[in-house]
Subunit: 315 residues, 4 copies
């Protein structure tokens, strides 16, 4: 009886409209990536979104085939050693291409909490820190040929200190110092003292395309994001660590715009081997301590464009 | 003293990198739109995001000018009768073009809770229902000429009933009925009875470009979204209303894909006067009652493409 | 036909279990509070949660009566001048007591965005600022007597500067200054300069019981929350305003604990007329700029206890 | 230098106010619980909140000691075999009692995604399903004696079908059937057919105190929550599974109130060995498909009270 259920999805729809994306959002899985005997496995709890396009002559997409493809890949991966999350997304795209034979474009996106280890700056306490890993794969079918472009990235929280507010505080305090100090001593004091500014939680995000036979280390991306803000943050800071974090951050004030530019420089520096048409998305969100709203900056471009902009700096 | 603060933003940045978007996210305002003496004013609490692009020779965007532009427009609008939210976004773009004279592209987005009135289907109880209004404006400066494209849309919750599950339930029950009824009576029963399926909260979204001298009524968009699902929902349903809602919805089962197609048909029907290059985005998210995850469908296209797909239906 | 629908809710449940709270969550309404001819009406978009207890001999609560009670009160209020949101909650409790005649305890909670006006500290720009209004009413029925206790409160964002980090920065910089300045000059410099610390968005919350014939002004609560942090924040700060905000905030560093204590002091000062058994809840959440996690402090007590703690300070 | 930083927290505060809770919110960690050689380790990414009370003579709590305590316990646990999350919370409370010697009350709460395996009802496909594990420990210090009460629980999504709407649909359809069938056949048809209702995602939650030397299996709690709704849901349902899920669910319609009562019955059945003063919290939230708002029911009581209510049922 079960086998003869009518296949409502395969029928022609009443309205012959093509759809750009049909799929599932929020499929959550446990993913254990073994890394050989010596290293502890990487554990992720990724959430997947996955879509196919749908031609105008088909009513529905057989929705269940998509979580099925995700499940099958997750199950296989846990026992293999293919550890790149963007490759997992690409494998899901491939499996979905088989299951949705009418689809010409398939997209899979993933994000997951991701644990990385840090030491606090002075007391060198070990601390588990939590960031987000993001990955994406887009497959295009042209007749029998399937081309997949995949990307990996991360989202990390850090601390940003506003350079503009720090300059104005310095200016006001300088005028007060000049009332009892000469210019030279005032300048020495200014060069010595850590002036206040507003500072806040910043969230940096990078997403980079990865060519078929290349690898990009997610940990390197995390380091780039962290080091592009005024200071990394930490879950565990003893008093000397807190002091060093604050003082270091105020030595390196950055606008939301600067964070993006710093990430650009480091990406060009680190991943210059990537092809010219590699698409790179970089953004920074600062949860301003002096406002109710957030500040935001974004750059979307190709590796060729980034290299062109950086050419005077890098030579 | 205050006047001589250094302008950190106007300096050249250390890294000559152009940025795609720099701005603010989450600026929340109260907006009262008067509609003449006879009508109650429309009240919105919109949240704005607003961005400018930034050339490679300027360090920062003078961030405060953006919430200032939003505030000024909001303040002016409350005492005028320009009631289209997409026009408010366009006015903010214009004001930002003046304040950020280096910008070539400026984007403003807005969303707000929006109250509309409905009667329950049987007892005709009045009920305030809450949807979301969305609007957007993008300005491009080419030398001295500024072109602004603006869009209006809405996001509304409704109920969707799965046609596939309903068919299989009908199939299983039909076989049971055939054990004690003849084929003809069985068919009559099947045509009479409201068979179960899974049903759930669906969220439909439409965003439509609005040409310079045209208007699109947000209430019409809301009606299109509501009527493209199996049934509208309501905050206040007495027992007969609840019954009618459930029975009506099960007379009109729709996939997530069907909701999008239904919206396409109604949009072409209602807004056929819009230019061919009008960009229209339609999507539907169903919070599946049988899954932890959601089902999703989306169509992004131009009015010309929609009309082409619909031409056999409409003639 | 409609009238003879079976009343499933009135049946005895299979399991004779009493329930503490049964109701609705997330009922969103538009509420316009007129304030006479001279003042602009207050507009809120509150979200209501409302619960009744359910005896062990009744299967269901007739759920629709609760949003109905909310709707009816909202409809009446828009045309009256009863402007206290906690009284609106109390009226909903009263109406629900009539509709749920078996209920012995009824709870109604509400929260809404709430706009208040501020001037920026130096340039005196007007700015709409957005906080949250919260209110609550709990009714107890003892035979024919109904007692209602109601509360009003608010949640407001501000800026907090850490006193501990500022002390350590000062200590480190002092030692550096002593390398080229004598002790007295060093001290003068320290007293002059605005030392850095970490600072962040803080969220303060107060909820206060309001006796039957008393009023508590929500705007006063908002001022207490704002002034208990290092500085208010604003959506619109020109450079001199930003400077003043940062400098003022660093003159008044506060721990998350201090914010709560400051609110205690101001509440005792402002609302000393409230009865001894008035329950007062105060909390503060700091979205730490040096951590991924938040810092939190809370005090729940009666007015009598607060007065006892404050007695040495106030005399 | 580092060692002589001033201890701002140990000072007396300007206002001698006692605080109920001071601590951290949102500390996220990776937790691997080994279960011997044969079983795969359980992996969690819990988020912790942890608070201490603060006497009126101390300015601050030495905030960093709290994430430090969490880190230390997490680090120890990964290499032990103490697998109960509520015991991990209790260990953090103990460690915090040592680090915050002034504290009389310490609270630690935790929640984490938690993966469990299910088979689909007909095709028996394996599927990873995701729920939430919750745990809590509260420690009270009375002179030298520390008493800790700990709790474990879970939050699981399932499907609920409304019994009231199903009854009214049946009533309406019955009248239509009577137009061409006799009473007896009509009744047979009614007993055979799966009538429609509204159905939706429900979220059930249970939290149970665990005595010092007892264990409560989290998987049993998850099964109780799932089986108290109309049907479990699944990430992977082929057409026959979807059909069975829908048909089974409609055989077992439940109000939000019934879900809580069903959980009560199963808890009394399963955990009758727990002491009379065990506190048990049960709630159910239904994301109604016919409304924008949710339906909610809750019961908070002791095991003694639950047993008393259930005594006629259980005998």
């Amino acid at each position: 009886m079960v086998d003869c259920f009518p296949d409502t999805q395969d029928k022609a729809p009443a309205l012959p409209v093509e759809l750009s994306r049909v799929g599932v959002k929020g499929v959550k899985k446990l993913l254990t990536l073994n890394r050989g005997e010596k290293l502890r496995p990487i554990v992720l709890i990724p959430t997947f979104d996955a879509y196919v396009d749908l031609p105008s002559d088909q009513k529905g997409i057989h929705m269940s085939r998509t979580p099925e493809a995700i499940s099958e890949v997750i199950e296989e991966v846990t026992t293999s050693d293919a550890v790149e999350v963007e490759s997992i997304c690409a494998e899901i795209v491939e499996k979905m291409m088989l299951k949705h034979e009418y689809a010409r474009k398939i997209e899979v996106e993933m994000e997951s909490d991701y644990m990385f280890n840090r030491k606090s700056p002075v007391t060198e306490k070990n601390s588990q820190e939590m960031g987000k890993l993001i990955a994406k794969a887009v497959g295009i079918r042209d007749k029998d040929k399937i081309t997949i472009r995949k990307s990996i990235g991360a989202e990390v929280v850090g601390m940003t200190v506003c350079p503009c507010a720090q300059e104005t505080v310095k200016e006001v305090d300088k005028n007060k110092l000049l009332e009892f100090l000469d210019e030279e001593t005032t300048q020495k004091v200014i060069d010595t003292v850590t002036f206040a500014s507003h500072n806040q939680r910043g969230v940096g995000t990078i997403l980079i395309e990865v060519p078929k036979n290349q690898k990009i280390n997610a940990d390197t991306i995390i380091e780039i994001i962290e080091s592009s803000m005024s200071s990394p943050v930490s879950g565990l800071l003893k008093r000397p660590d807190e002091n060093a974090t604050v003082m270091n951050a105020h030595q390196k004030p950055v606008f939301v715009e600067d964070c993006v530019r710093n990430m650009v420089e480091k990406i060009v520096d680190e991943f210059s081997y990537l092809p010219d048409d590699t698409i790179i998305t970089i953004c920074q969100l600062n949860k301003e301590s002096i406002h109710r709203h957030d500040a935001f900056a974004e750059k979307v471009s190709t590796m060729a464009e980034l290299k062109e902009e950086m050419k005077d700096i890098l030579n």
